[in-house]
Symmetry: D3
Subunit: 173 residues, 6 copies
């Protein structure tokens, strides 16, 4: 959209690994969905990150179930550069959640690079304070050390994780 | 807007003192105007901040001239709590520009308070790197110490400042 | 206490301006009271900070009412250097609340100075996330701009503030 | 301990990998031992961190020797979630050392999670400035690159490291 | 100096209010004097900062005495923009001391502005850790609250401060 | 150099992995070369970092070509501790580039350690804002995901990377 033209519904992309999606992610999705016309939750397929806990299919399925109540949100995945995917989807903005100050420090460089490569702006949004310590890696750490993650992930994710736990336990016997 | 309803054009508020507006402010306004349906640039009337360099009328006039090319942007002012003004205008989001990490630290508390008081989210947007050191107070400092501010403020602001400089010099004689 | 001697109940000092005490302050007091044998909430009398909203007497009275349910907590005030007051009270530790990262940056220098001057350590404690944006100055700002502070300060403080608002309104007529 | 009950001696846990213990760790231990009734130095057994430089037994032995002069300190280890171990030991607080601001950023999320999972508060304590650059990983880096670590680790650790160096050199021949 | 020409001795400027000079300032001066050919310690005359504790003459005299042992260091003062003074002195670099991370956040914008206005680079240098909490304002705060500043300022400054204390006490009688 | 002796040309070391050198690195080199008499760009040979994208020889060759126009700059490499190499080269200062605040947090500990081990100061210098998001790892990420790196690296590096891309594509067939 060029300056001065009539505004149309803004298309935003919310990229992430979502391994797994957390209550913090869902909170950001719901907030962003209220403010942008269309929101694409985009799972990054990163061949360099080995051994995700959840397959791409599992992550997309969990996310789709989590956002089922939000008509202007859809789930996709992409390979390669986010900047290229943003251009392909003719997206206007990238959305990122911030939990703590250091999140912003890490995201700043990426946001500047995406602006340089795809002329796209990143909008930063704070997740609810009660999720400020919830990240995918903390969820996995708690889970693997035997703790309860009920308050950290949405119900569809909880169900898949419970199934994985059963499988893990069976395997150990 | 409740979850699940059809999206309408989002109304965003960009609040600030704008004493004076800088190139950094204008950069954030142009970026936000591309992404939200309607953008209100709202000058804060703060009786506790004494001795602004520019009167409220000057600030509104300069801003209006600066955003004349952006049809979905308008300039207003408000007294009292931002949270109350946000409710009055039925605004969906607050927009804030970030230049450096410490900006975010300062804005986080305000954003959380506005969320608590008015259920409104703040979207943070980075201004162009080339404006990362430009703030209203730096502009005023350079100006009062006799330096050139041509590259720091938009043309309409430059004109008003040049007039003030002439007045200052005449007064000193 | 020298290394190697038998531990006795630790005496901690929680210093602050408390102008006014907030829910965040009370949260830190309750958490510290659980962990230290004795806790002195110490109001700093700072002649350089002009125009406090509440008099020293008001602040001590409000605090005393707020901590009435905590048998090992008492309220005092002091003039001069915190390091001198710490020595006078033979206190073992200073307690400070942290809400956000920038709080720590500001407190680090003070903590190092107090260690140098009085060989006393500062223990930092995080207040509840739901109070992470609540500070005395934000409370005063919201109050003076006509907003509700019910969720930001304890009930005894709310009562005194309500009385002040009535006085302010009468004075304006 | 519930609010209002008589205070008893506080039991604190100081968790860490201690691979190896540094002068900074020992400094934090000595400071915390002065302020809490009982201090448990707890070595985290983390099966996900591969290839520690020192075995669990070595780390516990070195720590025990380092804290021999502190009667209210004992060394243990634990597997699984810190939150579970805290509950098992009926500990009142977790102690963490801070050297620089970024330490606090990293520890904030963990502290909030432990509060959520085990209702336990984390007290942050600054190590002596002269140890502000000393971490286990810096000690290992200097050691493996052939530098002297005499001023970075306590004497018992130095002895074990010197022995390892001899072994390394023999192995290379 | 243009790229490719022969290097000459670098002239560096170390600007500051020095109200009063501290041990931290002197530490930075000594370190910078070792690395640059010529170092000008430049006292900022800032008419907007009211009520300095020490007059410009006192500050220059104390600094001159403090740097007497450093043949390539001289003390000056300037009015107006640092960028203009840098050009006047044909200085190659500005030197700034950093004590903590937040110092850098504050100095970044100023450094970028000076680069834009005077094509001059700012080199940041860490003061000794043992001075990391020492600033002019902390020195003044401790002094006015009756504390000892012996370990915080150089001997020539201490003498002037002691004289001021006597004057203050006489005045109070 | 001892205090009080005549200043000689300062020898600075700019250490890094340079895997690959970026426009940001070159910008820092050019700025430092203007301010120090002699500048050694020193490639760290780190056997613990596996799988560099470029061999040591490639990195030295690319750097040498990039700095060919700077007569007081030369390229070397070193193994082992930077502190030992600094002593070997009788270097006066270490130079490090800073892009964002978090860079400084990471570099602070290293700078303090090098001061402790080799009595050498680190001077921090900001790279141009337009390179603030450019790092070797971002360059590699963009490259491997198929993006253009023309604006991120100097021409000699671009040429080597283009050759590698051709090799990669051939290998995949």
């Amino acid at each position: 959209m060029t300056n001065g033209s009539l505004p149309r519904l803004t298309r935003a992309i919310y990229p992430g690994s979502f391994d797994p999606p957390t209550n913090g992610h869902l909170d950001v999705i719901e907030r962003a969905a209220r403010c942008f016309g269309e929101l694409i939750v985009a799972v990054i397929v990163n061949p360099q990150k080995r051994d995700p806990m959840f397959s791409l299919e599992e992550r997309e399925a969990m996310l789709s179930e989590c956002v089922g109540h939000l008509p202007n949100v859809r789930v996709e995945h992409f390979r390669g550069l986010l900047a290229d995917y943003v251009k392909l989807r003719e997206s206007d903005v990238i959305v990122k959640g911030l939990r703590v100050v250091s999140d912003f420090e890490n995201e700043m460089s990426t946001a500047l690079m995406n602006r340089a490569l795809a002329q796209v702006d990143t909008f930063f949004l704070m997740s609810d304070q009660k999720y400020s310590f919830v990240s995918s890696s903390i969820v996995k750490e708690v889970f693997f050390l035997g703790g309860e993650v009920d308050s950290l992930v949405p119900e569809p994710v909880l169900r898949v994780m419970a199934a994985k736990r059963t499988t893990l336990h069976s395997a150990r016997r």
